[in-house]
Amino acid sequence: MQPSGTQIEVADVAARTAAVIASYTHLEGPLLPILHAVQEEFGFVPTESLPVIAEALNISNAEAHGVVSFYHDYRRAPAGRHVLKLCQAEACQSMGSDRIAAMVKTTFGIGFHETSPDGSVTLEPVYCLGLCACAPAAMLDREVIGRLDAEAVDEIVAEVRR
């Protein structure tokens, strides 16, 4: 699942994952916090870290996979330097979010769930950021942006390419 060139040594993944797990095992229901921390550690959740987590929590590999694959926010491959999420939910759609999406896609030459060839940005759809009053909305890394228009898109592109 990982693109080639970003492969990390499997033994290394296991050791680093185990180190991450150690600080969460005291929690009740530690799986989600561990997955967050693993994503923080690697930038994504490597498939190789799942058996390590499963063994530590005495759950099956399948269960760990089921949880990771359920949540869109757990990445299965490294993202670009920036992650741009464009809201595609109803309110934003009614305010022209698909036009904005098309604009962004054309500019970067990628579709949703893809990373630009220069590794600068990964594009994701998102279904409601709670910013309906300022639709169409987006989120660049951890910053939310409202009332997107062509100008705002240009600013985002500039920011991303800097």
């Binding site: 058996p51 099956s60 399948a62 269960e63 996979h65 089921g66 694959s69």
Partner: protein, 961 residues
Amino acid sequence: MGLVHEIDYGTPASKSERQVTLTVDGFTVTVPEGTSIMRASMDAGIQIPKLCATDMVDAFGSCRLCLVEIEGRAGTPSSCTTPVAPGMVVHTQTGRLKDIRRGVMELYISDHPLDCLTCAANGDCELQDMAGAVGLRDVRYGYDGENHVFAKNRADASTNFNWMPKDESNPYFTYDPSKCIVCSRCVRACEEVQGTFALTIEGRGFGSRVSPGMHQDFLSSECVSCGACVQACPTATLTEKSVIEIGQPEHSVVTTCAYCGVGCSFKAEMRGEELVRMVPWKDGKANRGHSCVKGRFAYGYATHKERILNPMIREKISDPWKEVSWEEAFAHINSEFRRIQYQYGRGSIGGITSSRCTNEETYLVQKLIRQGFGNNNVDTCARVCHSPTGYGLGQTYGTSAGTQDFDSVEESDVIMVIGANPSAAHPVFASRMKKRIRQGAKLIVLDPRETETVTSVHAKADYHLPLKPGTNVAVITALAHVIVTEGLFDEAFIRERCDWSEFEDWASFVAEERNSPEVIGKLAGVDPEVIRGAARLYATGGNGAIYYGLGVTEHSQGSTTVIAIANLAMATGNIGRRGVGVNPLRGQNNVQGSCDMGSFPHELPGYRHISGDAVRNIYESLWGVKLDNEPGLRIPNMLDAAVEGTFKGIYIQGEDILQSDPDTKHVSAGLAAMECVVVHDLFLNETANYAHVFLPGSTFLEKDGTFTNAERRINRVRKVMSPKNGLADWEVTQKLAQAMGLNWNYTHPSEIMDEIAQTTPSFASVSYDFLDKMGSVQWPCNEKAPEGTPIMHVDGFVRGKGKFIRTEYVPTDEKTGPRFPLLLTTGRILSQYNVGAQTRRTANVVWHAEDVLEIHPHDAEQRGIRDGDWVRLASRSGETTLRADVTDRVAPGVVYTTFHHPDTQANVITTDYSDWATNCPEYKVTAVQVTPSNGPSAWQAEYEELSKRSRRIEGHLEAAE
């Protein structure tokens, strides 16, 4: 005769004793509190449409077909997740419900292929049935949109990324994602019934898919191929390959699995005489509708090309076999056995009964020996597995059998597993045990290895005592030390049920400092605090149940360990009610039965000693002969006598002593010294290499009879096809007896059971009619217990007062030293069974193609051994070679292997040390050395040559194996 249809009530039964009455579609129904509306309706004969519900797993409420309307309540709740309430008025069919259901079905069918006519599930598809039930007539959504059904998009023929190809990696079933409706029944069956958690739903929404492991194929995932998911699947998504190949069965017969001592009930689903599939039977009281990979799928050996179908004889074992008629074979055996007895004496021949055959067949073999051979030289393979159980439990409690039924585990609070790995060897019981552990029961495991039972997901052992092989007695006595010195024993129970002075004597012994965890812990390599913790938990944690296996019995102190276990249960009052007890996990399907049937040289059926005049009289008057009042020879004695030249002929039914018994070279020397070895088996097994007469056997599918499982349950075995070799095994023994001049005229195995019931008090009320009526019954079954005995020693021990016996630890003579510094212990794995004669002839070999040697990384590194290397394994008895598996499942200093494959011959290594009381061999401890190697040992090469030579059959181009 048609298919045995089982009602699917949709949700599991409630165990509540309070009753609730409600009305469903105008009918009044009374059911236990907590029952779902769906189940209550089914009780009244009203079937509510459903897809995601089935009574093997808990309600889930996802398919939205089983909605109902309840008067006084808003909306349309799902009937599977809504419990009944007093006075509730339910309507299962209203205009509103019909519309909803039809709409839901339309959505399902809009993403499901319409190839019903060519689909393997045609005729056995719940989706098809439900489409019919809700009156689906058209699908407004069409098939052109997003779907999982077609490999190419319908509009532009581009690749459909939602489509996934069929997974055919498992040898026994296929997974076709295009037919999946994501009802989660397979996932829930894997979790709730089997307890492996190998399946999940990955993704979400329209992208939800069933995924084995981490988006893997079934074979490479954690799946153990128990078949529970296939059974649960309502569509053709998970389908047996045999059904795809053959088609739907047209009739079925309920019978009993012939693998392990759990004794699962199955429906053999047939097309004519062709077996289509084995499906676990929900009414089976041992398995409650569950199965494992062996019973469910590994029956292909019955029709394997290597099966021998004609009797054969040869003069010398170096000659090729010659096929003869049955009459010739019987005449030959008769003349040889009579000649030998004339020449060497009446006691120069004997026989071995089989724990693989039925009670009736075993009874006949011992009868043939006692009545026809005129001696008591009869023994059985229980000699090499559970004979210490017979002795130990007999001495302490008064019966040679487990105290509980398997259902009892549902009420246990603390489960102690000693020297057993049920996840591999008794998988269906393991699933039931793990279910209880997931509900909160605690688990203690005593095992040198970190087995699957220790580390199961969601059912990890609370205490694992990784004791050094051979120290069972010491460690169990240390557990008792803690219980006694910390005052955790149950005084009231002991005073009422046992002899108090015997208890005091025992207590003073175990309380000695030398039996404390601190002293024993060092010797056994176990943390004393772990021993103390485990003892406290067992004594104070509620209902404590002990399950044990061959890791207990197959030691020089096997009987002592059984006694130590019995002491432990008595001291804590864990005997005589549900949820507690002492339970041997029997290895083979009918090991309990073969012991019950008088297979031991010193006992007549029902464990009655041969020296008792009254008991002998029963048989003497019935059989019209005088019986010898002295016990005959045990298997090891027969072999010793053969080497000495006083034992010359043997009839071995369904047992491969050459491969399964210890010290192979001694066994082969004994067999080679005999003049007439008769082997009665399905295949030319290893023992047959030394045989002069081969009688082809029949499989459990080809005969009627009964097996008795580890919970003393007598289960019916029913014939589903005619014997390929022409005669069922009981007929073979009968014809042999007739050839030897005995007047036997049984026309059906039921008549043999009638004779058993007539002569054996614990079987007095058993008959085939009774078994057909009851399904199965646990002995004792007689006037005192007309419906059998699920739990023993309820109001008092069978022997009167329970007997405490001191258990002095005596280390085995088999010790490690400079030449042999490691301890070898042996066991089995899930997919293979015993000597592998059956499972090696099935697709189960994909999981285990050869025996490997587990060795700790530390020991491996010292010897320069890497994972997968060939290694030489040597003991004082012999040597063999196999591949190394470097793992920390075993402790440093301990190595482990299985004995499923004849080319490894692990028993070349094991020694002739045995249990002091019963001669049960010490398989579990052998001092060995492991060194790198580059190929088979001299013995392996020599043996392979012998095997090839001795399997030649005249007129056949190639050897049978």
